[in-house]
């Protein structure tokens, strides 16, 4: 369980930080602003803080699909709330309705990016697993034929 948590934490930390860096690069290029080196550390810290609830969520074994959806919505709200608090704490921007809306879209982008990366990795793994399953069935069929 602990190992699973730490692996998930590391994966989410890398994915979220990459997504935040992409979002920051787009923003800085569009606005033409320069950033302080402290911002890079703040991005790393924010990646780690937002990865924590994600790793916890992954380790929860929900029994129903409804509960799973509730947890994902709750998770999104937590991530969004944490991001707003971090924005304020790091002094990246003032919390106004416009900045809250822009943050919402940024969080949606990072959320979708991370989900997509994980989905593609899982898809690659399941393809490999399905191949192994197919091999098992072929082997079983062959053994059955030989015994007949």
């Amino acid at each position: 369980m602990m190992k699973e948590f730490l692996i998930s934490l590391l994966h989410y930390f890398v994915d979220i930080t990459t997504a935040v860096l992409i979002a920051a690069a787009i923003y800085l290029t569009a606005s033409g602003k320069q950033i302080d080196s402290a911002v890079l550390w703040q991005i790393l810290l924010s990646g780690f803080i937002t990865a924590l609830p994600s790793a916890v969520l992954i380790c929860l074994d929900t029994k129903t699909e409804k509960l799973s959806w509730i947890l994902w919505i709750l998770h999104f709200c937590v991530i969004y709330g944490v991001t707003l608090v971090l924005l304020h704490a790091f002094g990246w921007c003032r919390i106004t309705p416009l900045s809250a809306l822009l943050t919402f879209f940024a969080v949606v982008f990072i959320y979708l990016f991370t989900c997509m990366v994980h989905y593609l990795i899982d898809k690659k793994h399941t393809t490999l697993m399905n191949e192994q399953l197919r091999k098992r069935y072929l082997r079983a069929e062959q053994e059955q034929k030989e015994s007949v």
């Binding site: 190992k3 998930s8 992954i58 380790c59 697993m129 399953l133």
Partner: protein
């Protein structure tokens, strides 16, 4: 290690012969588990009591302290705890797929990923069950994709 399966003569009984320099603990545990494995189960459905073969079971599910065996279309109650079934049937190609479920790997048609990080197992009877992320590793070990943690 090679695995050779030979078909016996029509009147001969099935025999497992292990040819190795020194049998290790893993091998002995595996053979004992196979020898002691209970291949038949008693299933309860209303007033009926049915003898079930493990090969007919698609998956076991624990629900509110009761355990059920899901066959092709019927569901029978089983008087075992889920962890007992896990111990009994893990050597027979069953694998834990969530806190409340053990699936028969022979009944998995294919797997597909879900956005939540879980996997969905499409069974041969058309049913779909969810494999929790923390149990995916078990499945990969059984499929020979990943190795057992030392």
């Amino acid at each position: 290690m090679r695995i050779i399966i030979e078909t016996p003569q029509p009147d001969d009984e099935d025999v497992v012969i292990v040819r190795c320099a020194s049998p290790d603990q893993r091998l002995i545990t595996m053979l004992l588990a196979y020898q002691n494995a209970n291949t038949e189960l008693t299933g309860y459905l209303d007033d009926k009591i049915v003898r079930l073969n493990y090969q007919d079971v698609y998956y076991f599910e624990a629900n509110e302290s009761r355990v059920f065996a899901y066959c092709c279309s019927e569901v029978y109650e089983i008087k075992y705890k889920l962890y007992e079934l896990e111990e009994m049937y893990t050597p027979l190609d069953f694998v834990r797929c969530s806190k409340s479920m053990i699936v028969n790997m022979e009944k998995i048609e294919y797997l597909s990923p879900l956005f939540s990080g879980k996997l969905e197992a499409h069974l041969k009877n058309g049913e779909k069950i969810v494999i929790s992320r923390q149990y995916v590793h078990n499945l990969k070990i059984r499929l020979g994709i990943e190795e057992v943690d030392s």
